[in-house]
């Protein structure tokens, strides 16, 4: 009974959020600048994190994020609401990231994967994922493990990286990712398995003390 209530309540919240989003989109389509700014406010952080991990440096990520919202603004009149706003925005972001990677690959043929900024590099504002970690040693180990995982993500091919980031980091569903990338759901699952497998291997090596 409890689970039914929770599920029922959850669905209401979801429906409310969707209808609120639809209203926001309608207002933005009617040239309401405040509504468009609210959309930016809702999605800026999520898209920024996704783009940052896709391209590997904050300067380009910021430029691409601006471009995403510029294109969204220009494309709003033709947005028909068949896809959700988040799916649509992630699709724009993904296409821009892929274009960016192609351009970059042409310029730098020798770099196997995109460079990442140092820890001291200015990559936005740090938000600790777990502020309640009591043990400094454990926190340091977690931090080190995160670096291993971040490095492993960067070593993935763009196709695998996209799916992994959208599913495991950005929390999109298989269906949403299939719509963002315009690929079958089976392909999404297969790419996700491959991506996870590759990262898991590097983590396993780290846990066995094989990596630096």
């Amino acid at each position: 009974m409890v689970s039914d209530t929770v599920s029922y309540t959850g669905r209401i919240i979801e429906v409310d959020a969707l209808s609120a989003e639809a209203q926001l989109v309608e207002r933005a389509q009617a040239q309401d600048e405040t509504a468009f700014e609210q959309i930016m406010h809702l999605y800026a952080d999520r898209l920024y994190n996704y783009i940052l991990r896709m391209v590997g440096n904050s300067a380009d990520a910021e430029d691409l994020l601006q471009e995403v919202f510029l294109r969204a603004y220009q494309g709003l009149p033709s947005f028909d609401g068949r896809a959700s706003l988040s799916t649509w925005l992630y699709r724009i972001a993904t296409n821009l990231c892929i274009d960016y990677q192609r351009r970059r690959a042409r310029r730098v043929q020798t770099v196997p994967y995109l460079a990442w900024e140092d820890e001291d590099g200015e990559v936005g504002h740090w938000e600790s994922p777990d502020t309640q970690t009591p043990d400094p040693m454990e926190a340091a180990l977690n931090r080190e493990l995160q670096q291993v995982v971040e490095h492993a993500i960067r070593s993935l091919s763009p196709k695998l990286r996209t799916v992994l980031l959208l599913y495991d980091v950005e929390d999109l569903s298989y269906e949403e990712i299939a719509r963002v990338l315009n690929i079958p759901m089976g392909t999404v699952k297969s790419r996700l398995n491959h991506a996870r497998g590759q990262i898991q291997k590097q983590v396993e090596a780290y846990l066995r003390g094989e990596s630096k």
Partner: protein
């Protein structure tokens, strides 16, 4: 062969997608298979690390920057004012006339040459007419109309 099946289950278990019976079977296998146990530890650490990756904030000035870019792209191109359009035709006419006069001033013989050419062309026509008249089969008394059209007198 057996391990492959359990490897596939690791992430399902981490995401709570595995049924109770399968979860129990997996746990039993992990207790007797060190290789799968290592993979389980790695998968769990990877899963946790992915979920706990640091989140970054988008730049504070993003809204301002996007608005500036929207205005930049939406700014109308310089308009062609109507009075400029109206003034364009006479201005072009004056320019053309000035150019023609300038050309004439720089080439004073050009007028004479044109007149000479026109005169030469007229003479050629008259010569041709006379030659045709000379070879013509004359009747002893030309018709009055002939006198009128050519002015010929004999």
């Amino acid at each position: 062969m057996k391990c492959t099946r359990y490897e596939r289950w690791l992430w399902d278990e981490l995401e709570g997608r595995l049924g109770t019976a399968q979860a129990q079977e997996l746990r039993a296998h992990l207790q007797v298979c060190p290789r799968c146990q290592r993979q389980w530890e790695a998968a769990r650490a990877t899963h946790q690390a992915l979920r706990a990756l640091p989140r970054y904030r988008a730049p504070q000035q993003l809204a301002l920057q996007v608005r500036a870019r929207i205005q930049e792209t939406a700014a109308p191109k310089p308009e062609f004012v109507w009075w400029k359009r109206v003034a364009l035709a006479p201005a072009l006419g004056i320019l053309a006339a000035a150019a023609w006069w300038g050309w004439l001033a720089l080439n004073p013989d050009s007028t004479y040459s044109t007149e000479t050419a026109t005169a030469a062309h007229s003479v050629e026509n008259w010569v041709e007419i006379h030659e045709q008249l000379e070879v013509a089969d004359w009747s002893p008394t030309p018709t009055p109309s002939y006198f009128i059209t050519t002015g010929y007198t004999q």
